[in-house]
Point group: C2
């Protein structure tokens, strides 16, 4: 059905991270703010232009006249000329400190683990998998011990699984996640259901059926039955997703070997070949070097490989379309290999702290030219909010200088004076990620991680309108002097000024308002969300 208007014209303040050029491998530390108008085509959901001069009513009217546009909402009672095009106008209110921001990209999230959000006790990776994770994931198949066969229809999914997946999509959209790279489970019907759900709800998604066929590691109640089963089941979900969304406009498959220990060599080899069968090759996602015990295990299981990263590389799974989650403890040689293959890293700070895995050296990745995005890693991570991942990325980077591995790396390079090789800034400051850099990772960085840097993560002309409207709210409305007007009615002191916990006092620069959003904001500040130009969430 054709939209009743040609463009949606967004008016107000637009804030985004600057795109990093090839010659500047590190993210810029600045955000850029523009005020004016930006228009998105109803036909393809892409940004067709902007006018940063049109920041007041008169200049906006001039723009409308120049473009031969009429307001679709205002024109219903009036006639209009055939040369005119109807546009829908969406305005970010300055008085409420509203602004448009690129949608967040969650480069690593396990949808079926959502019921376990907040449940991890004092576990670490390997016991966490056994105690919390495999049991909850196994419930997404009615007949987990049967071959996958023809049960490719989403309708074969247990209702409880549909309920969980629906809630994941609701929650992530409400936190401003416009694109997510999902791990599902081993089950074809439930994985297909997740794809169908994202498609119908309008969330951009990569959907991965989890491959895990190694009987020596995987629990008997939750594993692929054989190499062939693992590969054919993966093919089934790929076929389903390709039929659901032939152009991959919204939902795409992603090959998902869970991590090296869960997979046999034959399965890894088969998956590498499967990825290469397609043009372009399929996306791939997996885990790497999250936890020191896990690394020891990989060394035991794959003694021939030489390193954890080399295991994946050996089977052609380390590609420019590969997302490696965690990468907390990569060796310099592994980082070099990752960079050479142009594989991407999903940094999941909340999860790495919650499971006590350690702190990934993001500054080192960036210095070395490795592409990094952020992941919530629900439910190793305790929050589906990418904004929480932004906060945690900042926080753990400030603790990195206190870690033994950081100090060891300094010593190895003879930089105990607090300087690193590439840069003469003091190292204790250097490894810190700024708010601006973390927001870059959550948007532009994530877009590059999912190999869509030209399409997502910013407001460049030609990009897809995946965006969120943030509302910080106004100032607290208080009585003149509460001490002179004592009252038992505490309610009267709390007015509707702020939204959520963002407190503004009228003295903040726009950059400071962004910092306050990052440190105090939550889903209450996400007023509306669009994906591909379509509204997919508005705050209730």
């Amino acid at each position: 059905m054709a939209q009743p208007y040609v463009y949606t014209v967004y008016r107000g303040t637009f804030i985004q991270a600057l795109r990093v050029s090839e010659s500047v491998p590190r993210p810029r530390t600045e955000l850029v703010r523009n005020r004016g108008a930006l228009w998105v085509s109803s036909a393809d959901g892409r940004i067709k232009g902007f006018d940063w001069q049109a920041h007041d009513d008169q200049s906006f009217r001039d723009l409308m006249a120049r473009m031969n546009w009429v307001d679709a909402d205002a024109s219903t009672t009036n006639g209009y000329h055939e040369t005119e095009a109807k546009v829908k106008i969406v305005t970010a209110c300055e008085d409420r400190n509203e602004f448009f921001f690129p949608g967040f990209i969650d480069t690593h999230i396990h949808a079926p683990q959502f019921p376990n959000v907040g449940l991890f006790g004092s576990s670490t990776l390997l016991d966490w998998l056994e105690t919390y994770t495999f049991p909850v994931e196994s419930k997404f198949g009615a007949q987990a011990d049967q071959p996958h066969g023809d049960e490719t229809l989403p309708e074969k999914t247990p209702p409880s699984a549909l309920r969980i997946y629906d809630q994941v999509v609701s929650r992530t959209l409400s936190h401003g996640t416009t694109c997510a790279s999902y791990f599902a489970t081993i089950h074809v019907p439930a994985t297909n259901a997740l794809a169908a759900l994202c498609h119908s709800r309008g969330q951009r998604a990569f959907i991965g059926r989890v491959c895990m066929d190694n009987p020596d590691f995987c629990p008997s109640y939750y594993k692929d039955l054989s190499v062939e089963d693992s590969l054919s089941a993966s093919r089934s979900t790929i076929d389903f997703i390709h039929s659901l969304d032939p152009k991959g406009a919204l939902v795409k498959p992603i090959l998902t070997p869970r991590f090296a220990p869960t997979c046999t060599r034959a399965a890894l080899e088969g998956l590498g070949k499967l990825a290469a069968e397609y043009n372009p090759p399929l996306h791939i996602q997996t885990h790497i070097s999250e936890n020191t015990n896990e690394i020891c295990l990989v060394k035991e299981l794959f003694p021939e490989a030489g390193s954890y990263a080399a295991v994946y590389d050996r089977y052609d799974l380390l590609t420019k379309r590969t997302i490696l989650a965690h990468a907390v403890h990569l060796t310099p040689e592994e980082r070099q290999l990752v960079r050479q293959r142009d594989a991407k890293i999903s940094h999941c700070p909340a999860s790495n702290s919650a499971l006590g895995s350690g702190i990934a050296p993001v500054r080192t990745f960036l210095d070395e030219g490795i592409t990094v995005g952020l992941g919530t890693d629900v439910s190793g991570g305790y929050s589906p909010s990418v904004l929480e991942a932004v906060r945690q990325a900042c926080l753990v980077s400030r603790l990195l200088g206190h870690t033994a591995s950081f100090k060891d790396a300094q010593k190895e390079h003879g930089h105990e004076d607090g300087h690193t090789e590439k840069n003469k800034q003091p190292s204790l400051d250097r490894e810190k990620l700024t708010v601006e850099e973390s927001l870059y990772l959550a948007t532009r960085g994530g877009a590059a991680v999912v190999d869509m840097a030209d399409d997502l993560g910013g407001f460049d002309e030609g990009m897809i309108w995946d965006a969120q409207l943030i509302e910080l709210g106004g100032m607290q409305d208080l009585p003149q002097n509460p001490l002179l007007q004592p009252t038992n009615d505490t309610h009267s002191l709390i007015k509707s000024g702020p939204v959520g916990n963002v407190d503004l006092f009228g003295t903040e620069t726009w950059e400071e308002k962004i910092h306050k959003w990052v440190w105090s904001g939550d889903d209450r500040n996400v007023k509306a969300v669009w994906v591909g130009g379509r509204p997919v969430h508005s705050r209730s």
Copy 2:
């Protein structure tokens, strides 16, 4: 004015941390849940009894009859016998997963820094003070360069300061903080205004005028003018608070030398003597060993003392009523001194991460018998929520094992095998704080830190009713199968089931619900708050 009812009877689920007995110096890891009724006297706000058998309607009616109580709300239209006492009934709704929990105690918060929440950039302690903190605090006095003189009236406070203080009290109450130990500024009128505000709003508070008279460290625009000025100004606020609340039922003064570098020896000596003039001696709060550069500075400034802790001890400021904020880098000898003096530690994990200070070894404190509570340390800390401090305490404890200082301490004690001296559990797990332990620190721990362990932090008979009613909400109400009912109206999928971000799926134990509250909850889950039996906040 007499209350129209003798007791308030609270019905429903009550959850609290168990009190630690003298013979068990470490916090228990369990929370305890009771269902039934608990009653609080309108006369003094204290818990007069409970009946954990009265958990259904019939047994509750039996209790009412046995006690000769009538429901004050229900009895308005009926006559009642003289032998009957009217009671007000407040019910926590089981279907909404509501429960009563002890109010949070914030053992370290800087009220005037509230406008700077979220603004700290990539600074560390000493440059953060200069760049962010001193400027904002200095604005709380209209005439900062004048002697304090007689300007003791709260009305002399700048309106902007009143506005900020009012918002601090609103926000902390809304997050369930029933008791806070506040640092104010050096200004007597504004400090008195904060005391008056807490008193009128009904928040339990310790109010500290900040002492900082060392001209070599303090900025010229923000310091006490002399030792005498520092002491007399402190006395003024003490006198004001004692006249405001003669019994200290709600608001008490607390001596507040900012930290050693800001104070001359003469001021520290005078403050130590001032504390001892009172019976019981005054409470004291300050900072200690937050940052390694700060520790070096103290060593330079007080070479005679031997250690940072010894500076305070030398001037009788290390007492059982002293709150030491941070204590990230205390030496074993300093910990021993702190324990001997029975001084208390306020652990401020969010702040310590945000300013890159490091990770305080809380498990070591607890093992050694040191009393610990939690502090938000606004605005070094980025959140006024003690629940966020609970989360951060858990998270950083999971990273502690990765720090160089932790590994060094292990080596020193010859425990590279991962065992500590006192306990044979693996050390990498041992230093982790559980959710239950962190909640203990936020309630019972905080109560002990403010020397009110017999009055606050739990629901023991005789304790003061400082409590919060938490509402987790119900399950998400979803369509039977969204895939069979595709809709563009995404709103219809989001119903009013959950409160905030706490997602329940109907399979959780009560302990798991607590974990979900801690990891996903926020002020939206705080439905009502009481201090001293008085309602002081209810969610709007």
